[in-house]
Amino acid sequence: MKICYYPGCTLKTKSQALDQTARLAALALGVEMEEIENWQCCGAVYPMARDEIATKLSAVRALDYAKHNGGRLLTLCSACHNVIKRTNEDMRSDGEICSRANNYLQLEESYRGETEVLHYLEMLKTVVGFDNIAQKVVKPLNRKVGAYYGCLLLRPSGVMAFDNPENPTIIEDFIRALGGTPVIYPFRNECCGAYVGLKNPDLPKKQSERILRSAKEKGAEEVITACPLCLYNLNEKGSGILPVKYFTELLAEALGVKS
């Protein structure tokens, strides 16, 4: 099965591990991730200004491409997923943004939010199925893993419709499928400090240490995430309290396809 895939800039530079392990694992699960042509930066941060339109256009281009190539767009980076999914919702429900974007892009056929945006985790759950993954595991994790969701996958919950923002379960189910033991800790959906570190370097440190300490106290041996920025903050500012990896690294490991 082929599915349109939007990697995003970070996955081509600092976070190649996320991209590569995801592709290897997907292949092992029978999913071919077809990188879309001529993709551009998603905009990196969803623009909150009502009149901002230019930074939404590249997301619309990617969505429109996917509309004509299978109707689904697979994302992996939490930040890209957040921007693209929210922009898609704008195109679906906000007439003004939709008409302005379409006027600007002059597509052959107007884009109105028809594409289904699917995060890699959602793909694993709904397209492949965690039960099927469990059957393909060759090296069960056999360790305690803390899921770190961060903010961008979960919020705003109405639009993202990813999981219960206060009590998510999808990564825990994923860990179980890989033969690991998920560790529930209070800070798994807390912000890592994100870009605030540029202005206030102490904040990501305080947040990251708190997150990792909390996971460690509850017995986690490592923490996994889907977000390059979260991983950066946790690794660089988290004082090495726990190792932090991309969730796809554990997937590739369990499936025995890690290069």
Binding site: S157, G158, N164, E166, N167, P186, F187, E190, S214, E217
Partner: protein, 662 residues
């Protein structure tokens, strides 16, 4: 041929600013039947009404059309005006050119055009109107109160005081409702039970009041003045007349693992129990889910120890049927379920409790005998954090969009009582806004802050989590613009309130309308606040909207006044706009009877002469005293035999045709 007068109201500038009233009056001047048309600033004023009366006499009018506000507002007014001038009141039609036109349009040209169409539609109908006269129906001089909380108790006492008989139907084993669970009441801090239980006793002792506890309304038939209600008396397995309330059975019952609903399930109770010490009736009830005898047939201990011989394991649900002239709905509220609010960890942490649970913990008759101890380990909490607006004013979809209205005051009350009784306790309150309007209310809240040193923090809580046995409350302090983390021993959530879920069934039985939040709808938000749009049904307490005890009591007394006003009448005028079947067209198919919500249609065998021959036919017959004129039968009848007086198919079609002319 009718002689119709048209009267266009300006409603000050309400209509006249958007609709060219003169042009409307002018446009319809030469319409069929119209012999007079005029405008006036306020047609509902005495001068306006006089203008109508004069015109009726001077121009010998046989029908009138008033272009004005909604008929809900002034149809009755103008009908009276017409009657005073000797015209049958059903020869009056209202064209709603305010709510349906001037208020919702901006363009004067378009609004004027629409107003002309609406007035012409009414003229078309009046051309086909015929005088109707109302019949009479007797009033059953007995009221039903559904719900035995403070609202139901107050309404029943007031109705009984006026000399009428009242039945209170309460689904629980005792009356008293939520107020019985509350420890102290704001703003005076008097003991809730001390002011409630005397009223409960008054109910029990009043000869006019019959308390049907552990009972539910199953079926309602009839109409205002003449309701017939089927009531289920649930089997309590204890003879109400024999039980003396000695509680010996409670002591001896071996099955003691039931959750005490009255104490918000904070402690255990036996399978046979009296909900609380001052219960009315003071009679035990058996929980059939928990009773060993009822589940396995073995035990029977309570029957052996009961000196009064009151225990009867063979009791079955019983049904009684009674007639009532009026019904008061006072079904009350419950706090919302908090399972969806994972951020506060209510399900995971025993020491995260709701405010109603705190009421029981603070109450001398509660699970801790009134000593403030936290549920997990029975320790005295030193730091208590209150979180307001849990599920209130919540547009996320987890909670309720409305303000629950009572939480700001009861949270201030709790905070103060705790600081008063345990001055070594630190108390924090997270709030979005503090809303305490009302007599002596804001002063009450300020006392909490100024005299009792309660720490009010403006901001919401994002997370409550357990760290080494402490409840960590992470929230924002919007005034200091910082995140705060409070290490607490007990967290109290001011959960939103919602109507008691059984109200949905009651509303359906009564055909009383209900809003999206399950609150019963009043007839008019400002001017008829205690009447349901269904005649003869009145609303008291939280079933109509969030309110505190003083407001509930006021509303209950208002309901009682309305009920008394109804019950003192010997007869009520019936609505003459009822259905009737054209006997020669009816084929006796029964479809009308199956859609009639009031059971007004029966079938009779009748000899009819058709085409010169006499035939015995089965035809529909409408009881005009029961028919409410809803029209369901007229649209269902496949042969077009059913018609509604005052709203005949011909009249409706003439209106439709008039609208479709444009």
């Amino acid at each position: 041929m009718q002689r119709i007068g048209v009267f266009i109201c300006w409603c000050g500038s309400n209509i006249a600013a958007t609709v060219d009233v003169e042009r409307v009056a002018d446009a319809v001047k030469k319409d069929q039947g119209v012999v007079y048309s005029a405008t006036y600033q306020y047609m509902c004023s005495e001068n306006g009404q006089q203008l109508i009366k004069n015109a009726i006499k001077e121009h010998s009018l046989t029908g009138i059309v008033v272009g004005s506000c909604s008929p809900r507002m002034h149809e009755a007014t103008f009908r009276k005006t017409a009657e005073a001038a000797g015209l049958n009141s059903y020869m009056v039609e209202i064209a709603n050119i305010r709510e349906h036109c001037s208020w919702i349009h901006k363009d004067r040209e378009e609004a004027t055009e629409k107003a002309i169409i609406l007035v012409r539609t009414a003229i078309a109908k009046v051309n086909l109107n015929a005088p109707l006269s109302a019949g009479e129906s007797p009033v059953i001089k007995r009221a039903l109160v559904i719900g035995g909380g403070i609202a139901g108790i107050q309404a029943a006492l007031d109705i009984a005081e006026a000399g009428f008989e009242v039945d209170i139907v309460e689904k629980n084993a005792t009356i008293g409702g939520r107020m019985a669970q509350i420890d102290k009441t704001f703003p005076t801090l008097d003991c809730s039970a001390c002011i409630l239980t005397p009223k409960m006793v008054d109910c029990a002792q009043n000869e006019k009041i019959d308390i049907l506890s552990y009972s539910e309304v199953e079926e309602v038939k009839g109409f205002v003045g003449n309701f017939s209600v089927k009531i289920k008396r649930k089997a309590r397995f204890v003879d109400e007349k024999k039980c003396t309330g000695c509680k010996l059975c409670m002591e001896k019952c071996p099955s003691k693992k039931g959750l005490d609903e009255f104490n918000m399930k904070l402690n255990k109770r036996p399978a046979i129990y009296i909900p609380f010490a001052q219960a009315i009736p003071n009679v035990a009830v058996i929980d059939p889910e928990q009773c060993i005898k009822l589940k396995t047939g073995k035990c029977g201990l309570c029957q052996k120890v009961c000196g009064a011989g009151a225990i009867d394991y063979t009791q079955k649900d019983e049904y009684i049927e009674r007639g009532y002239g009026a019904i008061v709905v006072a079904t009350g509220f419950k706090p919302i379920e908090l399972n969806a609010f994972n951020e506060f960890g209510y399900s995971e942490n025993q020491d995260v409790i709701t405010s109603l649970e705190l009421e029981r913990i603070m109450n001398a008759a509660g699970p801790t005998n009134g000593v403030l101890l936290r549920p997990s380990d029975g320790e005295h909490p030193k730091v208590i954090t209150f979180i307001q607006c849990v599920g209130s004013r919540d547009t996320s979809g987890c909670g309720k969009p409305y303000c629950s209205k009572i939480c700001c005051m009861y949270t201030a009350k709790h905070a103060m009582l705790i600081r008063e009784k345990y001055p070594d306790t630190e108390v924090h309150v997270f709030y979005i806004d503090v809303r305490t309007p009302g007599k002596n209310y804001d002063e009450f809240f300020r006392r909490a802050v100024e005299q009792y040193g309660v720490d009010y923090i403006k901001g919401m809580v994002g997370k409550v989590y357990n760290e080494n046995g402490k409840l960590m409350v992470q929230g924002s302090n919007l005034i200091d613009n910082e995140q705060v983390l409070i290490e607490s021993d007990l967290v109290v959530l001011a959960a939103a309130i919602e109507p008691e879920p059984s109200v949905r069934k009651i509303a359906t039985l009564l055909t009383a309308s209900i809003d999206t939040n399950n609150f019963l709808t009043e007839s008019h938000a400002k001017l008829r606040p205690v009447e349901s749009p269904t005649a003869g049904v009145y609303l008291a307490g939280v079933c109509q909207g969030p309110k505190d005890i003083p407001e509930t009591v006021s509303q209950a007394s208002a309901c009682a006044a309305k009920v008394i006003g109804l019950l003192v009448k010997d007869k009520l005028k019936t609505n003459p706009c009822v259905a009737s079947a054209n006997e020669t067209m009816c084929n006796g198919c029964s479809q009308c009877a199956s859609v009639c919500p009031y059971g007004a249609i029966t079938y009779v065998e009748k000899e009819l002469r058709v085409d010169g021959k006499t035939e015995l036919r089965r035809i529909a017959s409408v009881n005009p005293a029961v028919c409410q004129g809803c029209g369901a039968c007229t649209v269902t009848c496949p042969s077009g035999a059913m018609d509604l007086k005052g709203f005949s198919s011909k009249q409706i079609m003439s209106e439709v045709e008039e609208i479709c002319k444009r």
